[in-house]
């Protein structure tokens, strides 16, 4: 079947099998390998992307369901050379170690801050419950998201 979507502000369209998962579509058809496949069972959140601005696990969505949607992956978050405030905050607060969960963690955080611009630490911990990190113990991730929230509020 023919599907098309906007990914990171660029238009893509391809013939795909109906069973193609969104994560496969992004990685294999669009060549955007920043989105990682972790558990492949919608537990770990590594494959998190934004569909029409909201976080979803792209391993548990058909590409066909995103037909016509606007998708943002980690490659589309920066504006040119300027990182998104969440990316900057993860960098400055050492919010990652091996980096495998990071793309998903950052996009889940962007979506969370869209919904809760002024989160408490508890809001962040609950809001990221769908994203697993096996390195950091979450401490610096939570710190990063709180720092990003503050930076984004200051920028408004």
């Amino acid at each position: 079947m023919r599907i098309g979507m906007t990914v990171n502000a660029a238009a893509y369209d391809h013939d795909v099998e109906a069973r193609t998962l969104l994560v496969q579509y992004l990685r294999e058809a669009c060549g955007l390998t920043g989105t990682k496949i972790g558990c492949d069972t919608s537990s770990c959140g590594a494959c998190t992307v934004l569909v029409d601005g909201e976080s979803v696990k792209s391993c548990t969505m058909l590409a066909a369901q995103a037909d016509g949607a606007s998708v943002t992956t980690i490659e589309g978050l920066a504006r040119g050379d300027e990182w998104h405030p969440v990316q900057t905050a993860f960098h400055e607060n050492h919010g990652l170690q091996c980096g495998y969960c990071t793309a998903g963690m950052v996009l889940a955080s962007v979506s969370l801050l869209e919904e809760i611009p002024n989160p408490t630490e508890r809001d962040v911990r609950l809001g990221l419950e769908g994203n697993l990190c096996r390195c950091t113990g979450y401490h610096n991730i939570v710190k990063s998201v709180l720092a990003a929230a503050e930076a984004m509020r200051g920028a408004k």
Binding site: A18, D40, S43, S55, V56, L128
Partner: protein, 272 residues
């Protein structure tokens, strides 16, 4: 993991969805948010020949004040339940339970109707709707019919829906902004409940429902009876596992689940 091949069609309305499922026969399945069905398909535990995608059926997403009840469109996402002012005011219990389903990403996609039609005894919303004596409005080729929650859940992942019927609306009584507690016990934050217990004041009485204590969501009838006869929360909660058939899995034995049910029911009753 990739699902087995299937044909994919899209419905633009409930009527078109019902007509498409009729056309494609018993091996066709409706796809709502896909949070339950797609994982099953990836594991090849479900291999529908055709998926009828309901993602473009826009007019089944709403929470409406129907006077003496609330009407909730079957395709209303958990996220929209979580943020609904109407629900906060008139049936906050459902809002609180919706906020505990899965994680943010799951709540952005998953729908109340999908959760109900999937009929998983470990899901949060079916048990809550059972406690609230919800009515399910289903549309088939010959019109609509109403099904009571008490007669809807028939067995593990088995409901009273015929293969050619679509759940279109959930109706619940107004229970207000308070008078409920949901105790969900799990080991990983985003997981299904190992056991869950919900207590809510409904229509002058106390209703208690159990998650993951049998093949279907259950009402803790013995607890409700004891309460109606004047038992204390602690005494009534001792009856929580009566009549249940809790499953055994990696997380818990049936005996441990029975213990959990008693503890969680007591906590829920003491909190309302």
């Amino acid at each position: 993991m990739i699902p087995a091949a299937f044909d994919y069609v899209r419905a633009g309305s409930a009527a078109e969805a019902v007509s498409l499922i009729g056309e494609h026969g018993e091996d066709a399945k409706f796809l709502a948010g896909g949070m339950s069905l797609l994982p099953l398909m990836k594991l090849r535990l479900a291999t529908p020949s055709v998926l009828v995608d309901l993602g473009r059926v826009r007019d089944l997403s709403y929470v409406r004040d129907g006077g003496d009840h609330l009407a909730i469109g079957a395709l209303t996402r958990h996220r929209d339940l979580e943020t609904s002012d109407v629900l906060a005011q008139h049936c906050a219990v459902l809002q609180a339970v919706a906020a505990q389903v899965g994680d943010n990403q799951v709540r952005h996609r998953g729908t109340i109707g999908g959760s109900v039609a999937h009929g998983d005894p470990a899901s949060d919303l079916p048990a809550a709707l059972l406690a609230l004596d919800a009515t399910f409005v289903v549309q088939g080729p010959n019109g609509t019919r109403d099904l009571a929650a008490s007669e809807f859940f028939r067995g593990f992942l088995e409901t009273a829906l015929s293969p050619d019927e679509l759940l279109i609306e959930i109706r619940v009584r107004k229970t207000g902004a308070t008078g409920f507690a949901y105790e969900k016990f799990n080991r990983r934050a985003q997981d299904w409940a190992i056991v869950g217990a919900l207590a809510a004041r409904v229509n002058g009485g106390t209703h208690v429902a159990l998650v993951n204590m049998g093949g279907t969501p259950l009402r803790a009838v013995a607890v409700e009876t004891a309460l109606a006869q004047g038992a204390s929360a602690a005494d009534a909660a001792r009856e929580a596992a009566v009549g249940t058939e809790p499953p055994a899995d990696l997380n818990a034995s049936p005996e441990y689940r029975a213990h959990l049910a008693q503890v969680l029911v007591r906590r829920a009753l003491e909190a309302i």
